[in-house]
Amino acid sequence: MLEKNHQNSGAQKTTSSAADRYQVIGKPMPRHDAWPKATGETIYAGDYKRPGMLYAKALRSEYAAAELVAIDTREALAMPGVAAVLTAKDVPHNETVTRFGQTHTVGGFEGLYRVLADKKIRFKGEAVALVAAKTLAIAQAAMEKIKVTYKPLEGVFDPETAMQPDAYPVGEDASNVVCSYKVRKGDVAKGFAAADVIVENRYRTQMVDHAYLEPEAGVAWLDDDGVITIRAATQVIEHFRGIADVLGVPQNRVRVITPMLGGGFGGKEDITVETYLALLVQKTRKPVSLTYTREESILAHSKRHPYVMYYKTGATKNGKLVAMEARLISDAGGYVYLSPWVLLYSTVTATGPYDITNVKVDTFTVLTNNTFTSANRGFGANQPCFAYEAQLDELAKKLGMAPLAIRRKNYLHTGDALASGRVLEHAVETEQTAVKALEALGPPSRPRSDRQRIGQGIASGISPYGRMMFLHDTSRSFVSVELDGSATVRCGVQDLGGGQASTLAQITAEVLGIPMEKVTVFHGDSSLTPLAGTTTATRQLYMSGNATLKAAAAVRQNLLRKAGTMMAVDPDFLDIRDETVFVQTARKPWVITESESGECQVTYGGDRGDLIAAEMCPDPDPDKTLPLRDVIRAAAADGIALFNVAQFNAPARELIDFKTGQGQVWPDLTFGTVAMEVAVDIETGTIEVLKLISCFDVGQAINPLSAEGQLEGGAVYGLGYGLTEDIILEKGITLTPTLSEYLLPTAMDTPAVRTIMLQSGGGIGPFGAKGIGEPSNVPPAAALANAVANAIGVRVYDLPVFPEKVLKALGRI
């Protein structure tokens, strides 16, 4: 186990064997995309311009539930400068099904996807018509001239009400229940009978927004070949297929390019502006630009699912969990989108990182007339974490145990199985993360007044990385070397700001033995870069990292073969460092294995990177070296391929057994713990976060600076979920449509997060890395709630933990 403890950011990265082993991997370094961002040169989706560009607006429903009786666009169309006004009848295929960049169809998960509202309005903010005009002002004015006749309907806004058989039907089907899942392990009745203590509670989590700083935006045009080209902020360029289907054109006639994103967090996973732009380009044959206003972004793109969760957990008097029964209901809002997937994540992670003897989980996702909900960082892992971690603390309290003590009795370890039967064959270091996090928190601070209470809390989380295995996930990457010794990566990754592209440069630099600055990454073009799948599910480092590693390794192999001939040394004993080929005496060569099913395992330099005593080279001559550039030129002269396109296939499994929840859903999971200390003002309910420690097993930090950034950012994203963020809806109407009402943490509300990275090397990403983008934001809200409960002696069961709820819990109001 390697551990790095970063109290401060920046330079003092410790020496570890990873640091010795690798030249570029594990080294903190500025990302290649940082400079243009620091100097304002990065051209984001909404910054782009084309000659003769039109400006678009979407007219959105004023009602959350209504019949769309009539739309009259004549007056708008007649306005000078208006190029097009589109309604549902103008969309070639207005109704399709939601697919999420997947290339493998799995029955039963897809929901109705309607480009523009037709017949029945399902949520306020649903797009009803599109306008394109010469200026934004004209588009806005034209939009106001569209006359829409609505017949308001009753609607249903509470998921539990919506589940009732006689509830108002949100869509065309009689039932609002989209789907439900089960997990069954052992016999819960017997388990509860054996329990000495049982706690039973109802928890509620709120709807939240991704609130990336960059609103949804894009520009689209018809290129010289008549291909509809869309340059938009998206996490999924592979939506080009779905867009083509809507337009009724072949899939190779739509191209999606994604520039650097101003944040995604799952909110740019579903289609936002892309189809609207494509339709307007198809109609006008002119370039069209569309950027959502902030209000529009809050009203009209997906949100995180609010959950109602009933948890009953039983433990023996020594703290062993013997039974857990959970019933989870998620609010899908007006349309299905990714709700079934999100629910599946919640279902399988509902027991947390704990080994529980008897388990019964029932989960439901239900349509309502609220804003539709879909992917949001954590993808269903966050909500149950809030509940199962609260349950643990409540049990500990009843048993007179410390929060860490009860957890240590129950943590899953490597080799144990989840309630879904899946054996955790890769590293599980949850217990270590909890011990380290709590240790770093230190003794509680002293209250500064008699109205202040100090509390500490921890929460451990479990969340996967990599997509669900029944999607048969793949990624591709291209790596080449140029004659001057530089290297090029072409990979269809979408870079949301997490360093998804930069990481590939680092991996390539490591494999080819060149500095990172010598690698250029071209990313995110559905026509020109090999498709790399979605930047979702914390999968890009795992998937495209491995694909790039594989491609770079193949190029390396070609070069070393040539070098071997040139140096008269067996290529297996050659290595590259500092742009020089030399005779390596200290480690094993590359191992890349591919199973018959196409699953791929890439290992670098031996068993998960451990230094292995050399099988001595027969002729170890340390002076025998060759500049890499000379090898490249010689290889080129010979016609040896200087490039490789590799595909990485994640291990695939078929669907799990839906009657019992048994089966394997993801390739691997990430585990970690967040510890927090809060000061609560018991008279006003105000909460101040004094300390926040985030400790995760990251497997191997490819770039510790970036990995820390993910942990810090994830911690604060999760803190906002716990503390201030709340999309408040009243009968489907958003009461928090701006960033002065929807409250993100500011620099003043945020403690200096302390991160501790454990590096087990036990992940299945390149160099043993695990994914941390989403996992990092799963436990903070639960840790906050536990810290507050610890401070005031009573618990708030609803997120966010607003001051008012604190006073209510205390019985002061």
């Binding site: 401060n8 950011s9 620091a38 100097t39 304002g40 609130a211 604060v716 960033l739 620099a747």
Partner: protein
């Protein structure tokens, strides 16, 4: 539509255009002067992505009419430094990993520059306060605060250009 001529000194260069009464400084910077480094995040003054310095003070460009800025000096992140001649703040942001998606970065650096111009030895609390109108959704602020701190401490006298 009635328009009015305006002159703005943008990053040291006098720029002229005609604007309507309701156009904001943000509109004009992005659409007429191609200063797209100034980001549009909310157009409500809630996020700080469009922060520029107006006669040296950090303001939201979306909350200033273009006409109100006429005759005044506007500094964007491009006026603070470039890749060939970066400001210490830009270097610190890059080197210390204070940039993720980068959408808040231009505004953050501009707000930090305005602070250090006014008080070169700003404390951590003053730094957090000064950027409290600039939201960041990726970093959790820690590395941003640290980057500004490192400049505030390192070169107390040199950030005025």
């Amino acid at each position: 539509m009635k328009t009015y001529p305006i002159t703005i000194e943008l990053n040291g260069e006098a720029r002229n255009t005609d604007v309507s009464a309701t156009e904001t400084l943000l509109d004009v910077l992005r659409n007429k002067f191609d200063a797209v480094e100034v980001k549009n995040g909310c157009e409500q003054g809630d996020c700080g992505a469009c922060t520029v310095m107006l006669d040296g003070k950090a303001v939201n460009a979306c909350l200033v009419l273009a006409l109100q800025a006429s005759g005044k000096a506007v500094t964007t992140v491009k006026g603070i430094g470039s890749q060939t001649s970066p400001h210490a703040l830009q270097r610190a942001f890059v080197e210390q990993g204070a940039i993720q998606c980068g959408y808040c970065t231009a505004g953050m650096i501009t707000a930090a520059k305005a602070l250090l111009d006014e008080k070169s030895t700003a404390t951590t609390a003053e730094i957090r306060q000064a950027i409290s109108g600039n939201l960041c959704r990726c970093t959790g602020y820690k590395k941003i605060v640290a980057a500004i701190e490192s400049v505030a401490k390192k070169e107390p006298a040199t950030h005025k250009r």
